[in-house]
């Protein structure tokens, strides 16, 4: 149980290379589950290694319970880590693997035995205790790796893409189990993943990273509904958010976005938007499930478009149409699905769509929604970099 705070953490390998981590600034409360998510090479694993003490930081501070640990060696930080490759000691049995850290800390044998028994029961690996890592399946090795981390009851758990070596079915199972375990143990956890579904499902807080910079830090809900920029909007969500290039037109003091398809066109009222937007290149972002189809209310503007491809996924059917020369994905209920070649009446709820600057990728003034001062400050912080 501990709070974790990163203050202006920087990491550079020197010799003229770009910085690996730039001004990382975030804080989580005791017991919270933090997700670091981003594409490969974004610095998320480096950041995790810095927290663990496996790599030194070049600047800033890492605080656990208010105490700066950035100068400490890994063994003094009271942090346990689960590795992507599990990193089980191959010559030791499961029991020895779990007990290794306790033995090195010179705990009495009785305590070690009790702790191994507790962890084994918690993870249901009691029947595996005498096996060697090579004699177990990937899922079992994964459990043992978690058991080794749990055994020391550390202040903070670190998970480095722990599920990426498992097959799809097991991955979903273990995801639920990790969440269940966290709900039960309430230990502060940092979890690195490149999988946005893991990020959405597991996290109390999510930090989306790219090029060593935190693009956005917030709850999964905020990240999903209120992305700070094009990158975050496109990274979170599957299928990803549709991005439609938009021309803007001002008429009678109001701003409209022009949408065109082969079958028709429409003018999307955008309400009051930031000044000076006119004539700029803007991108409209709308999630596949936010495109309304057919029945819609007459109050919303609509556009007809031909379905080019259908992808039934089971629970949903994805229909692809073309608007403003961009491919747009629409999520439909399977029994309401049209056929390829059919024409659909599509509607966009103006309060759901997002606008982004095409050049910088930054989010533009929310449509009709006032921005919270807090959010503005965060954007300002991002822009300042």
């Amino acid at each position: 149980m501990a709070t974790l705070e990163l203050r202006n953490v920087n990491k550079t390998y020197g010799n003229g290379q770009a910085d690996t981590l730039k001004n990382i600034e975030l804080a989580i409360d005791s017991g919270e589950f933090l997700i670091l998510v981003g594409p490969s090479g974004c610095g998320k694993s480096t950041l995790m290694n810095c927290i663990a003490g496996l790599e030194d930081i070049s600047g800033g501070a890492i605080l656990v319970d208010g105490q700066d640990i950035s100068g400490m060696s890994p063994k003094d930080r009271d942090i346990a880590m689960v590795f992507q490759s599990y990193a089980l000691y191959p010559t030791m049995s499961v029991r020895e693997n779990i007990a290794f850290g306790l033995k090195i800390r010179k705990l009495p044998q009785a305590e070690i035995d009790a702790e191994v028994a507790r962890v084994a029961k918690l993870l249901q690996i009691e029947h595996l205790l005498e096996r060697k890592p090579a004699q177990m399946s990937g899922g079992q090795q994964q459990r043992v790796a978690m058991g080794r981390a749990l055994a020391r009851r550390p202040k903070i758990y670190l998970f480095d893409e722990p599920l990426s070596n498992l097959d799809a079915k097991l991955r979903v199972e273990m995801r639920t189990e990790i969440k269940l375990m966290h709900q039960r143990l309430k230990t502060t956890t940092v979890y690195v993943t490149h999988d946005q579904i893991e990020a959405m499902t597991l996290g109390d807080k999510v930090a989306v990273m790219k090029d060593g910079i935190i693009q956005q830090f917030g709850t999964p809900r905020e990240i999903y509904n209120d992305p700070a920029n094009l990158f975050v909007a496109g990274f979170m969500g599957s299928p990803p958010m549709n991005f439609i290039p938009l021309r803007l037109q001002r008429r009678e003091g109001r701003l409209f976005g022009l949408l065109d398809s082969a079958d028709g066109h429409c003018e999307l009222p955008l309400g009051e938007v930031e000044e000076g937007l006119e004539g700029r290149e803007v991108i409209l972002g709308v999630r596949p499930e936010q495109v309304l189809v057919g029945a819609g209310s007459g109050a919303l503007p609509g556009i007809r478009a031909e379905v080019q491809v259908l992808e039934p996924t089971g629970p949903d059917t994805l229909a692809f149409v073309e608007i403003n020369q961009a491919k747009v994905c629409v999520r439909l209920a399977p029994d309401a699905a049209p056929r390829a070649g059919d024409s659909l009446e599509l509607q966009f709820a103006p309060d759901k769509v997002l606008l982004f600057d095409a050049q910088s990728g930054e989010r533009l003034g929310a449509l009709g929604k006032a921005r919270s001062p807090e959010r503005l400050a965060r954007v300002a912080q991002l822009k300042g970099r």
């Binding site: 890994p74 063994k75 590795f83 000691y89 010559t91 290794f100 090195i104 080794r148």
Partner: protein, 278 residues
């Protein structure tokens, strides 16, 4: 794959070739063994491949009498040199793969030169150094020379094995609180059995069979068996006792032969370890 017929001309050709190759390699050994069990008279009258009239151990007893002491010299040189060079090589490999430092790649590259260095090149500097240390003509000096010369190879073996081991293993151990030597001794060394066997076999063969260092850096009673064997075979006084020569050669060669027989399977396994991920 379609089932191969159990007999075909191609298969016959393959086996014939293999048997021929075996014979080519084995005939010298057979000749040596047969000769070593013959009496000198038998050798003069019979041909190379004839079976001895009477099997006798005279040759072996005589051979042991003249070179047995040197056999123990070789043991005293080889065993410490093999163990020390293997252990140091493992430690070097561990540092060069898991605890990289600035310039460690260059360091490793330079160390590799040791593998290509001919023996003759180091004779004079080595002899000078041994003299300075007061180790000239001692068993200890010969051990030192072999350890230094073998380090390049053993380091190469261990470093290449450890490079194939994920670094996360060391990271995990560090988070568990293990230090430099604990990680080495408790985690990496137990994994290295095949590589250790490769080093032991390689170094044992090199050092036991070494002649040049032995003849240069040892004298008189401290000479290794290879030098003693040479002296025995090259004596020009009296009649040539081929049975004694052959028996002595067998005695000199036996330890390496046994090492291969007993540890050979590790040798292949160790040499290919890390080549294929599995």
């Amino acid at each position: 794959m379609p089932k191969q017929p159990s007999f075909s001309l191609a298969r016959l050709a393959i086996y014939a070739t293999l048997i021929l190759a075996c014979a080519v390699y084995l005939v010298p050994l057979v000749v040596m063994l047969l000769t070593s069990f013959k009496t000198p008279d038998d050798i003069r009258t019979g041909n190379l491949l004839s079976i001895p009239d009477v099997f006798t151990l005279i040759g072996w007893v005589k051979a042991w009498d003249s070179i047995g002491g040197f056999f123990w010299n070789s043991v005293k040189i080889t065993v410490p040199a093999v163990l020390i060079s293997t252990l140091l090589g493992a430690l070097n490999g561990y540092v060069l793969s898991m605890w990289r430092f600035r310039g460690s790649q260059l360091f490793f590259g330079l160390l590799l030169f040791g593998c290509f260095l001919p023996f003759q090149v180091v004779l004079l500097p080595a002899s000078f150094t041994l003299g300075q240390f007061g180790l000239a003509n001692t068993t200890g000096g010969l051990v030192l020379v072999h350890v230094v010369y073998g380090l390049a190879f053993t380091t190469l073996f261990f470093r290449n094995f450890y490079v194939s081991i994920p670094n996360a293993l060391v990271s995990a151990a560090r988070l568990d609180g293990a230090g430099f030597f604990t990680i080495f001794g408790r985690i990496l060394l137990p994994m290295s059995i095949p590589t250790i066997m490769v080093c032991l076999i390689w170094q044992f063969t090199q050092i036991w069979n070494d002649f040049l260092f032995g003849v240069v850096f040892a004298s008189g009673d401290s000479q290794p068996i290879t030098v003693a064997l040479n002296n025995l075979v090259n004596t020009s006084t009296g009649a040539k006792e081929y049975n004694v020569d052959m028996a002595a050669a067998m005695i000199a060669g036996l330890p390496t032969l046994l090492v291969y027989v007993f540890a050979g399977k590790y040798f292949l396994r160790g040499l290919t370890a890390g080549a294929v991920k599995g």
